[in-house]
Symmetry: C2
Subunit: 430 residues, 2 copies
């Protein structure tokens, strides 16, 4: 039985902060969904002693250990040696892997040399895992009572290997069901108070919340032996939460859709597709971010007609038809320009709805009356619908851009629901 | 002296894989830049025993421990208790923090209740760290011989607290200098062979490489007591690497610019700004990603005029003037349409250069002759410059979009250098 698991990510680029550890998140999500509890994640650099110690420590306290990285051909790839040392074993050349590797390298027109062939080494009691998308095989071995899987670092190699060679061998001892709810237009503290009894520590299902960029993510999780019971409990709590938060609940999602901006984008795209309506964008300070977030979703072309990134005033006038006098009199970051951009976008790109965003993302461009983070968002729609909102977002250039994107999608979400747009976080009084 | 450090990230959302741990990367990069070696990063969930054990273990083996998260008002915020238990201490109410917290809550129109006031608890021998951007104070205390700093999870609170209250107290015992080089249009294995002697393990400076999305990142790092010596060694090796890789070297960066897509975007923006030239974009399958990546850089408005996200054929014809017959005869993903989009973008958005991208990012849309990942990129420029390239990118929708973005920027980079565009990774023969 695999009850608890640890993940060990390896690589100097991780402990040096040069690379974000996306593999650990992905594997943790996979294990959680399968019903195996990830107790800890550890990250160590390309140092044989550190690696060996981490493998020995984690293997002695968990049923399952997944390591990532360090299987390539370079001198910094030390996972094989560390696995051997941690399991009091030594490395041998796997002749079958030499053959597979040589064929792969020749097919790619690369040299078959000693350095490349390091990838065919393995501890004597380890089994290689085929790599369908790269050269380095993975490794599977038992260290004490811990099933250990070592996977290559590139996600494009790791993920298929995980699905093909790791998942079929796992034995979770229970069911885990997760569900996510998203809430908008309500302060986190208010939300926490309304859900206080539901978020108690030892409760089933476990319910927790985090806030980011103006969206609150409420995470629900059932762990137990009975999937039907779990679904019923999640249904009961979801209904309860929806009653307590009312129109502030904007979306629900199951595991896999874990980013609040992505969740809101999906909701808005679904709403548009369901209504058979199209959206056009006019982005200044967000520079294409709204379009990029929306088009991450497959099938978004059914709801997004297109957009204009109008990073200069010239583009605002020539492509969107914003009046040069309106620009000169009010400045690019103003309610009249945001409105004109939204109306212009809907005119030049045939669409039912349009969003326009103009603001000061920084670090330059602030003035006494328009401080950093000042953003105007306009939303135009059918039947002469036009709403504008004035925000003052805190944070960095990146924060201002992502918060602008989320706020724009939130405005559209409420409009598509036919609801008045509530006062959103960081919105300025009219 | 602070020689070695550990980072402990806490939160169920991290071990459940629901959130990416960006704080650990940021802190690791900060510590590395300061000359303090991050030996390991650990991540545990909101469990008092796991947290306490991790703090005790990490504090017993490092000079410095940074924890993130778990300082908020909810029942899942357990860092304060864990710090007390790990240091054989107990929690007291810090009356000064109660006053500060009450004022902050009142100013935000929130209730001052027992749950909120949990944030004013601290181990007796801990010092609170002011939080300029949120309610929860950080904590600083010594556990055995380890200086421990506990910071709040939201990056917008953590980063200012780090800069204001942690950095001034750190005592690195050596200088660390880092430098990054980026290489394009060369297979990773070839690059590894050309630099083999430079990437030996024990060498100073340490040199390593990783490949992602068609760009190879070469990381150089000097650790020692003499900054001048370090600079000289890095200069020597950088010159050597540039000689060995020739025109395949596309950019250099110092610590802080760690993402290859961002590095290439900065290089291209600098090249354009230096030449006083402007860029226009016409994006179909990338849906605004090129614009978004470029506009992340402050001051990008000096080089990026704007762009059109032409997600439907209607937008390609109406806004960019692509001939409807060209579209009908060749399909949207074709060389003639890519060329027409690039020429159209340069016409409707006054600019010197234009990039057009049209392709099949998937999961739908593939045909027998145009498989998933088929992308045409066109680059138009002064003096009737027009180059098109045909790619077949492997991977997911996200991979195809990011690889398209990087390849487009790479093409522009070589064109701005006045160099022929080399055959790029995943490019199809003409």
């Amino acid at each position: 039985m695999h009850t608890t698991a640890a993940i060990l990510s390896t690589g100097d680029e991780l402990v040096l902060g040069q690379l974000l550890d996306t593999n650990a998140r992905w594997i943790a999500e996979q294990l959680t969904t399968l019903g195996i509890r990830v107790v800890q994640v550890a990250v160590v650099g390309d140092d044989l002693n550190d690696l060996t110690a981490a493998i020995a420590r984690l293997a002695s306290t968990h049923d399952l250990l997944i390591t990532t990285g360090g299987l390539g051909p370079t001198a910094g790839d030390l996972t094989r040696e560390a696995l051997a040392q941690a399991s009091s074993d030594h490395l041998i050349v796997d002749q079958e892997q030499v053959n597979i590797l040589s064929t792969k390298l020749r097919n790619r027109g690369r040299n078959v040399n000693d350095q490349q062939l390091r990838q065919a080494l393995r501890p004597t009691h380890a089994t290689p895992l085929p790599n369908a998308h790269g050269t380095a095989p993975g490794l599977c071995l038992r260290i004490r009572n811990c099933d250990t899987f070592s996977l290559p670092g590139p996600p494009g190699e790791l993920q298929p290997m995980w699905l093909a060679s790791v998942i079929p061998t796992l034995h979770p001892d229970r069911k885990v069901l997760t569900r996510l709810l998203y809430a908008l237009g309500i302060p986190e503290a208010t939300c926490a108070e309304r859900l206080k009894d539901l978020t108690a520590r030892a409760r089933t299902p476990l319910i927790g919340m985090t806030a980011s960029g103006g969206i609150i993510t409420i995470r629900m999780r059932y762990e137990g032996s009975d999937a039907a019971e779990g679904q019923a409990l999640l249904d009961r709590d979801e209904a309860d939460i929806c009653t307590r938060l009312g129109t502030n609940i904007c979306a629900t999602a199951t595991a896999g859709q874990t980013h609040s901006d992505q969740a809101l984008a999906s909701v808005v795209l679904n709403q548009l597709t369901h209504r058979g309506e199209m959206l056009a964008l006019a982005e200044s300070c967000t520079g294409g971010m709204v379009a990029e977030v929306l088009t991450r979703t497959p099938g978004s072309s059914a709801a997004l007609a297109g957009g204009v990134v109008c990073y200069t005033n010239a583009v605002k006038t020539t492509l969107l038809g914003v009046n040069a006098e309106t620009l000169a009199n009010n400045g690019a970051v103003s309610e009249p320009v945001a409105s004109a951009m939204a109306l212009g976008a809907r005119r030049v790109i045939p669409a039912d709805w349009s969003i326009a965003i103009t603001g000061i993302a920084g670090p330059d461009g602030a003035t006494a009356t328009k401080p950093l983070g000042t953003v105007w968002i306009a939303l135009a729609g059918p039947n002469a619908y036009l709403q504008t909102r004035h925000f003052h977002f805190p944070g960095t250039r990146h924060d201002v851009r992502t918060r602008s994107t989320l706020s724009a999608l939130a405005m559209l979400h409420f409009a598509l629901k036919g609801a008045p747009i509530p006062k959103l976080l960081w919105q300025q009084d009219a």
